[in-house]
């Protein structure tokens, strides 16, 4: 019989901002819950390498859910009647609702790109709910590299092909070809307008509120080839957050976990080991 991967996928329906959303998620491992939030226009497959790595799953229950509108999760009923826009409020609700629905006790949340942005909001507004937060390609604001986002969703440009090409240069120049194209393949598969809708949250200049890194550690890791969220963007953001820990990842681009999993492991494993050694604060989680 063929070898099975340890990843298990399931569906559940969770309530997100007064909408019932059928959500798909995958998980592997046991121990500290570790929720991974994918980039815009992608899905939880970006984290398959973490879920297949025993050095991580030995101590962490790695979970990755497809946001509504993404991957195998479906949009809420009536989605066809309005333009999708991922707001900060909706994004926070998605993550907190997922964590509460699965009764995760003080999970670690790691998000990449837009996910890296939203962990800053989680750190500010709901930090005590989490054991630690990790922002990949994370900053409070990034300068756009294409100002006209209409090309992400218009009838005279193929959405899937454009979405992949739009971010193909953000993969590190020396990342393995196999994983470069796998990462881009996922970008070809989002629904019409989903990438554009996701970037709504990315174009908003976020106001960094108080972030208590003593209670909830915040790690920020950014690839040197990322010209969307540049290393300078991350360093600037972190300089306003006392205690935030920054790592600039050599050779890496905007999608570290999927574009170069072997190199990424060298960066993320020490972070997870540090998190594992911390005691969990005893704070009750509030409803999303």
């Amino acid at each position: 019989m063929t070898r099975m991967e340890p990843i298990v996928g399931r569906y559940t329906t969770i309530r997100i901002m007064n909408n019932d959303c059928r959500v798909y998620f995958e998980e592997a491992g046991q121990g500290i819950p570790f929720v991974c939030c994918h980039t815009a226009a992608a899905d939880g497959r970006q984290f398959r390498h973490l879920m297949n790595d025993e050095d991580i799953t030995r101590n962490f229950r790695v979970l990755a859910f497809d946001y509504p509108w993404h991957g195998k999760s479906i949009p809420p009923v009536g989605f066809q009647n309005y333009e999708y826009k991922l707001t900060t409020e909706l994004y926070v609700a998605m993550i907190r609702s997922f964590c509460q629905a699965l009764e995760l006790d003080h999970p670690v949340v790691m998000g990449c790109s837009i996910g890296g942005r939203i962990v800053l909001e989680l750190a500010h507004a709901h930090g005590k709910e989490f054991r630690a937060l990790i922002g990949l390609e994370s900053a409070d604001y990034t300068q756009p590299w294409v100002e006209d986002l209409s090309y992400l969703h218009r009838p005279d440009v193929h959405g899937g092909e454009y979405c992949a090409a739009h971010c193909s240069g953000m993969v590190g120049a020396t990342s393995p070809d196999e994983y470069r194209h796998e990462t881009l393949w996922m970008y070809m598969q989002s629904g019409p307008g989903v990438f554009k809708g996701d970037l709504y949250v990315y174009r908003v200049q976020m106001t960094l509120g108080d972030i208590d890194t003593a209670t909830t550690p915040l790690y920020m890791l950014t690839g040197e080839y990322d010209y969307s969220c540049t290393p300078e963007d991350t360093i600037r953001t972190a300089s306003a957050i006392p205690g935030a820990k920054v790592t600039i990842m050599k050779d890496m681009g905007h999608f570290p976990m999927s574009e170069n999993p072997k190199r990424f492991k060298e960066y993320i494993l020490p972070v997870l080991q540090e998190i594992k050694q911390r005691r969990v604060p005893a704070v009750k989680t509030q409803n999303a």
Binding site: Q143, W145, V146, Y151, D156, V157, H158, E161, Y162, A164, A165, H166, S168, G169, M170, A173, T174, E224, Y225, Y227, T230
Partner: protein, 140 residues
């Protein structure tokens, strides 16, 4: 907007132009899959390397012509302009961060894309690939 007139070295500019011309005629057209990906594209575009404009005529994804200098009253759909430093860094193998992609170069002011960019966006990976073709090292 990229400063297209600066030119530390005429020799470098000349070398980059020749490298690009050879890549278009030999590199693109001998890559059947790349030509196939551009099969719905027919357009005349301008690529400017430093102070030198090159006219690139594309028919159904195949390079029909690539020549230095522009004919009088020449029309084109769009242009991609960059400094010699930008093209030189872009074609390094591997390129350095922030110099490795057309969008990175335009974001940081080393290149510009002007004109009707719809065909550029509709065939974005094709254009990224042909513009990066001189990097491969297969065409010296």
């Amino acid at each position: 907007m990229a400063a297209v007139t600066e030119g530390p070295s005429v020799a470098l500019e000349q070398e980059l132009c020749e490298r690009f011309e050879r890549s278009m005629s030999d590199g693109v057209n001998s890559d059947e899959h790349l030509v196939w990906r551009g099969r719905y594209l027919t357009a005349d575009i301008i690529v400017q390397i430093g102070s030198v404009p090159l006219l690139v005529r594309i028919v159904n994804g195949r390079i029909k012509e690539c020549r230095k200098g522009l004919p009088l009253l020449c029309s084109s759909v769009f242009s991609v302009k960059g400094t010699t430093a930008a093209w030189s860094a872009f074609w390094e193998n591997p390129p350095k961060p922030k110099w490795h992609d057309i969008f990175a170069l335009t974001k940081f002011g080393h290149m510009s894309v002007e004109g009707n960019v719809q065909p550029f966006m509709a065939n974005l990976q094709y254009f990224k690939d042909i513009l990066a073709m001189p990097r491969k090292g297969s065409v010296k």
